[in-house]
């Protein structure tokens, strides 16, 4: 499976540098290494979800309890979580660090991913959620740190879009 282990490790290390203690996730191809890294880390609480919207509740609870968290989701998982993003995170001013695998964008061969790819950024913009694209390994640590910093300062969700260039080696 040509998902980049090296770049997954960079992302994971960046989350650790942000003192993230709880990661919620639903498996998806591009996230496999990240989920395994979280599972193998005795200092990380990995919460495997049934559906992404639960992750918004878990991160809200973690924030109110004073613990940093992050969400690993596919963009279709982000689409599944829109209501709680609006009626929990935005309503209650909850910072969310959402790492979203950006399927269905340039280079996508799977037809079933393409509608979600087309909808992702317009919907993030409609929700006024700031977007950071991760395409270059050199940017990973800085951009994830800065995304978390903004989320915490603004008490607002932020989206870090994991691109094909970063995640997929072919």
């Amino acid at each position: 499976m040509p998902v980049s282990v090296t770049n997954s490790r960079l992302i994971y290390d960046a989350l650790k540098a942000c003192d993230v203690k709880i990661i919620s996730a639903l498996p998806e191809t591009w996230l496999v290494h990240l989920i395994r890294m979280a599972d193998d880390d005795p200092d990380m609480t990995l919460v495997r979800l049934a559906k992404e919207e639960e992750g918004i509740g878990i991160s809200a609870g973690a924030h109110l309890a004073g613990v940093n968290s992050a969400l690993l989701m596919q963009n279709h998982g982000f689409l599944a979580a829109i209501n709680p993003i609006v009626s929990l995170a935005l309503l209650y001013k909850i910072p969310l660090l959402m790492l979203i695998s950006y399927r269905g964008h340039m280079g996508e061969k799977d037809p079933w991913q393409t509608q979600g790819g087309l909808a992702t950024e317009p919907i993030l913009r409609a929700l006024n959620i700031p977007i950071w694209h991760l395409t270059n390994p050199a940017d990973v640590a800085r951009r994830i740190k800065d995304a978390q910093t903004l989320a915490n300062a603004a008490l607002h969700p932020v989206a870090v879009l994991l691109s094909r260039e970063l995640m997929w080696e072919d």
Partner: protein, 193 residues
């Protein structure tokens, strides 16, 4: 049983704990019984009170967290039972008041009115302890035993579909949010002192 009588019976067990409730009648009733800074009323995002409770329970293993859920909310997020059951935090109590109705939005019957068995779903999801209570006394006993057991427990309490005259709470939701976060911070400091 009336939910307000049930809440009154268990209030002594709630008042010094972290409590997350769903919106609507139950929030107004608990608030009226006596608001505490460690009580959070999730005024929207139906179904996610239990997910929030799970997040808090995982983040603060030294504290006991009580989620007060309802049948309509739980039916919107049944996956929460399998997720809670997967991690089984012993400091989480999931109490569901089942009035077989979406009371706050017109009283339309939920699927528990036509045979869906939430206790059965919780058991089959792997929640290690599932209790049922039909009177304030039996609920009080169930809550006390669940809290003493330090085992993830779901309690299904059937109640009548009756709520307060007014759902008004003199507590803006952001005030509740910031107050609650500060109260949890104080608990954390207390625990580490």
């Amino acid at each position: 049983m009336l939910r307000v009588d049930a809440l009154e019976a268990i209030y002594p067990d709630l008042q010094d704990r972290i409590v997350v409730t769903i919106m609507g009648a139950v929030a107004a009733e608990l608030y009226t019984l006596g608001h505490r800074h460690t009580f959070f009323y999730l005024e929207h995002a139906m179904g996610l009170a239990s997910s929030m409770g799970l997040g808090i329970a995982l983040a603060m293993p030294e504290q006991q967290v009580v989620v007060i859920d309802g049948d309509g909310s739980l039916l919107m997020n049944l996956g929460t039972l399998s997720t809670m059951a997967r991690y089984k935090p012993g400091n989480l109590l999931h109490l569901v008041f089942d009035n077989e109705s979406l009371l706050s939005v017109g009283g339309f019957p939920t699927a528990t009115a036509t045979g869906t068995d939430l206790a059965g779903i919780a058991r089959a999801s792997g929640v290690p302890a599932v209790l049922e209570a039909g009177t304030p006394d039996s609920l009080k006993a169930a809550v006390a035993s669940a809290l003493a057991s330090h085992t993830l427990t779901t309690i299904i309490a059937k109640v009548e579909a009756v709520g307060p005259k007014s759902f008004h709470m003199d507590l803006p939701l952001l005030e509740n949010r910031f107050q609650f976060k500060r109260a949890l911070e104080a608990l954390r400091k207390q625990a580490s002192a």
